[in-house]
Chain length 149, copies 2
DNA sequence: CTTGACCTTACCACTGTGGGAAGGTTCAGA
DNA sequence: TCTGAACCTTCCCACAGTGGTAAGGTCAAG
């Protein structure tokens, strides 16, 4: 099976399959005489594993660890669980940050008429409520604690 | 006030202040004879506005629009509200995605003993549940619907 | 006049993904 | 046998947002 079919079957784009190989997340696949990548059903299994892990929000680095645990017959399930629990914690932190943002914005939006006049409590709120930057886990939207209303 | 003090006062790092200026989010500040950036209290106000907006999860592009609305005396509050409501929707989408991930992972983690033995329902779950990629709004962790358990 | 704390610009890094160019391969159909 | 479409290859660039760091200029206090 070549890369296109592997991509279609696994749900991981060909672009990303090559990328994962380049960064060592996937071992180099075998090649045809002409240099085309060839994937076995075993490779596909790994690919699907990665795709699933990605869809659960794991970073590529976490997935690297997951894959290596997955392929390690002498693993401790405790190591897997620790990794997962940490990831859950991070998810919850981000959910909390974003929920706070949403709540603040919702409160502001509720008081805004949203008409053709310029008076806008939303802009007023943003321009007067100070919001010191604060630490977050990663990039994305959550970059600071949401402003309190 | 020079950039360092402006950064301390506004909570936006000097690095980012320069960046925002470079991409046109902030107008070029005035300069001292020696080329140092100088910020007025007015500039600081804008800086704080941006910082607050950032902390509410707006992208720089959304903030660009917010700032221009903020400074437009002929704005319609409806335009502001639309922008904000859209942003709230996106936040909710991401919260939902991440909550789904968390739920799936929590369910998997609950069934895992987390001991020294290799048997691990988490890894089993990831390796057998297929999760087709699906659309998300932006990058970050949320990249696909969470796998159903 | 030196020293340390500041400032300047200009790069490179990260994460994860996509786009595209320039070229080679494979296969079906005329 | 030739041709064209649909693949494949590698390589570079882009995105968002932030940080680091290097090489240099400036300013104020001692």
């Amino acid at each position: 099976m070549n890369i296109g079919e592997a991509a279609r079957t696994s749900g991981v784009s060909a672009k990303m399959i090559r990328h994962y190989e380049a960064i060592g997340l996937l071992p180099p696949s075998s090649r045809s005489d002409s240099g085309y990548r060839i994937y076995s059903s075993n490779d596909l299994h790994t690919l699907r594993f990665i795709g699933t892990a990605r869809s659960l929000g794991f970073t590529l680095d976490e997935i690297r660890q997951l894959v290596s645990l997955w392929q390690d017959r002498n693993r401790s399930s405790g190591d897997v669980k620790t990794l997962v629990v940490n990831h859950i914690t991070q998810l919850e932190q981000k959910i909390a940050e974003m929920s706070a943002m949403r709540d603040t914005l919702r409160a502001l939006a509720e008081t805004c008429d949203g008409n053709a006049r310029p008076d806008c409590p939303i802009l007023h709120g943003i321009s007067t409520h100070c919001a010191p930057a604060s630490g977050s886990i990663n990039s994305s939207r959550p970059g600071a604690k949401a402003v309190a209303t």
